[in-house]
């Protein structure tokens, strides 16, 4: 889960990493006050999208009156689909150089990875690989200062900057562990007056670890529809097609989306109804699919823990209450297949046993076809 910049900066400060003076502002008055206290400042929209600066989400104010005006213009504005509600007023820096540093998890090596570059200030993907230094952490050892000295040496830093970097990486790794971070990134890691300072910061917390961080505010970044399904406890991603999909298990749901596309259809969503979904959440999720007003609904179930009769019951429940006003294609095999198929047939719904013809039929019903 991404954290707002002001929260990430707060975490850095708590761990003794230098950050510019700054504060959260909720309205133009507070913005004026902040600039009165801090001096010339950047007003930064607190939204969880990248490329904020280019989209007009970072503006400057040199005096309180200007700050009031800029803040009035920014608060409430739309930034890449998100409404700006709060700003972070931060003292302007005379930046001499811009570095990059982050800690993430290396999935293949299964250990944390520190990446650093003297070419910071842009997205790390845009930095030439030869300019990035990678150093892996043995989680049983952690990061001691020597790790940072080695990093500084690889980067070619010397003197004060080398020393400060060695100190900083110890703290950054401490944040990574303590906050269960997926990513903690300082970019740019600015040089100001010959010293390192975190000009911008990102902190993404591992969703699975939120139980250990009770004070972290839960932010669901999804669309309204996505949030609705997430609340049922299911994984849901909105896509831009018109064939709504439900499957059980993440892999099956992905394969189902792929299959629709394979036959020339356009999937409207990814929905994993769970590895052992019972009647109620399945029905709720189906309700959401109906509410999307798709052209076709395709349900693809391989019953393992999931029982086919439960899925059939969920379908019938929705059919008999909300109603399903669009063509429905069901593929149903596995545990309690007979019972499930029988239940559906009683209601006039015939089920497929193979995935390919079912997906193909769903695309046909949409009126498309392989193009």
């Amino acid at each position: 889960m991404k954290q707002y910049e002001y929260l990430a900066k707060g975490v850095l400060r708590e761990h003794g990493i230098p950050i510019p003076p700054g504060r959260l502002v909720n309205n133009p008055g507070e913005a004026a006050e902040a600039v009165r206290d801090i001096g010339p400042a950047a007003l930064k929209a607190q939204v969880l999208v990248g490329g904020r600066g280019k989209a007009g989400g970072i503006r400057f104010a040199t005096n309180p009156d200007e700050a009031r005006g800029v803040a009035a213009a920014m608060i409430g504005m739309d930034l890449k689909g998100y409404t700006v509600e709060r700003l972070y007023a931060e003292g302007k820096l005379e930046i001499e150089r811009e570095f990059y540093i982050s800690v993430t998890t290396d999935r293949n090596k299964k250990i944390p990875l520190v990446m650093a570059s003297l070419a910071g200030g842009v997205e790390i993907e845009d930095v030439d690989d030869s300019k990035i230094v990678r150093q892996w952490v043995d989680p049983r050892v952690g990061v001691l200062p020597y790790f940072g000295r080695e990093l500084a040496q690889r980067l070619g830093l010397e003197g004060t900057l080398a020393k400060e970097l060695a100190d900083l990486v110890v703290k950054l790794y401490a944040i990574f562990r303590e906050k269960d971070a997926e990513l903690v990134e300082i970019n740019p890691l600015a040089v100001v007056g010959g010293h390192l300072i975190a000009a911008d910061a990102r902190l993404n917390i591992d969703d699975s670890a939120l139980f250990r961080h009770k004070t972290v505010e839960i932010i669901d970044e999804g669309s309204d529809l996505e949030k609705k399904v997430h609340k049922i406890g299911l994984a849901y991603v909105e896509l831009d097609g018109d064939i709504a999909i439900m499957a059980n298990g993440a892999g099956m749901a992905m394969a189902t989306v792929d299959a629709i596309q394979y036959f020339g259809g356009r999937p409207a969503n990814f929905l994993d109804a769970g590895g052992g979904a019972s009647v109620e959440p399945t029905a709720q999720a189906l309700d959401v699919l109906v509410s999307m007003k798709p052209k076709v609904i395709f349900i693809n179930i391989f019953g393992g823990i999931t029982r086919c009769d439960d899925v059939a019951r969920a379908i019938l429940q929705v059919k008999n209450t909300t109603g399903i006003p669009v063509p429905l294609v069901v593929r149903l095999v596995g545990t309690n297949e007979k019972e499930g198929v029988a239940l559906l047939e009683q209601a006039g719904i015939s089920a497929y046993s193979d995935m390919a013809p079912a997906a193909q039929r769903a695309v046909e019903l949409r009126g498309g076809g392989r193009s």
Partner: protein, 290 residues
């Protein structure tokens, strides 16, 4: 024969008294798995499906000589359970729960490496060796059949789909291994492939991958010296970047983990890469005869 799990294993179930633990213990016993007991703190003295329940792994091992454990405890307690198994000398730990913090998984995997133990998962459907009538996992019992194909998969239900089509297509399985859908898991395609390479009964392997990470690319490198036919199917072709497709690990992030680079690497390594799950059986038939 089979890899990693045979009928000689002695299995305990950590979290045996929970709903999941009870249900799947029953399924594992029905399949023939030599489950010898369970662990559930505070529940010692009771029994589940006739198996003794212990307060600690230590007590369970003392009585049962268990050497394998399947973990069903809720995610926040999974690290504790995994370490309890590992520190007490269990050599095969299957971690079923999803939503285990990645840092916990890193700690578990690092410790297992140190102790020479095998961790499968987390967020896995487990492992099954049909010829041994033995499984540690949550997969349906009826879809597998003994035979010469090794299967290694990231995803559960998708692997069921493929295993069932293999069975129906006349291809039984030596062992089906679920790596798990999390970013950090105990096994890699390579580590499992290596077992299949060493197993004389495994004639060919089906890999079931997906978007995210670069496990498939790394595996491709290994495949060059693998020496047995491999069919690969990967899911997530239609997935947009930046969105998690259910699995915490299945995400195209910052341009990495796309299906394109994975399929390219596997193709170059000589694997037969198919586009849709129902194409696996035909590709396998061709790869074996070819």
């Amino acid at each position: 024969m089979a890899v990693l799990l045979t009928k000689h294993s002695k299995v305990i179930v950590q979290g045996i008294t929970g709903n999941q633990g009870q249900f799947h213990t029953k399924q594992m016993l029905a399949y023939g798995t030599p489950v010898v007991g369970g662990v559930s703190p505070g529940k010692s003295g009771s029994s589940v499906h006739g198996l003794p329940v212990f307060d600690t792994v230590e007590a369970a091992m003392r009585t049962t000589n268990a050497d394998a454990s399947i973990v069903f405890v809720p995610a926040p307690f999974a690290k504790d359970a995994a370490f309890e198994a590992l520190e007490n000398g269990i050599k095969l730990v299957v971690m079923i729960p999803e939503h285990i913090p990645v840092i916990d998984s890193m700690d578990i995997v690092a410790r297992a490496q140190e102790l020479g133990a095998t961790v499968i998962g987390p967020n896995t459907f487990g492992i099954i060796s049909p010829g041994e009538h033995t499984k540690m996992g949550i997969m349906p019992n009826h879809i597998y059949q003994n035979g010469p194909i090794g299967v290694v998969a990231r995803s559960g239900t998708l692997s069921y789909e493929i295993a069932f089509s293999l069975t129906n297509g006349g291809f039984g399985q030596t062992t089906v291994v679920g790596m798990g859908g999390d970013p950090v898991v105990g096994q890699t395609f390579i580590s499992v492939l290596h077992h299949f390479k060493e197993d004389p009964d495994t004639r060919a392997v089906v890999m079931v991958g997906e978007i995210g990470g670069s496990a498939e690319e790394e595996a491709a490198e290994y495949l060059k010296s693998f020496g047995k036919p491999v069919v690969a199917y990967l899911a997530g072709r239609a997935a947009p970047p930046g969105k998690r497709m259910g699995h915490a690990g299945a995400i195209i992030e910052r341009g990495r983990g796309t299906l394109e680079s994975k399929e390219k690497a596997l193709n170059q390594a000589g694997a037969s890469v198919v586009t849709m799950p129902w194409q696996v059986v035909d590709a396998l038939r061709e790869a074996i005869s070819g």
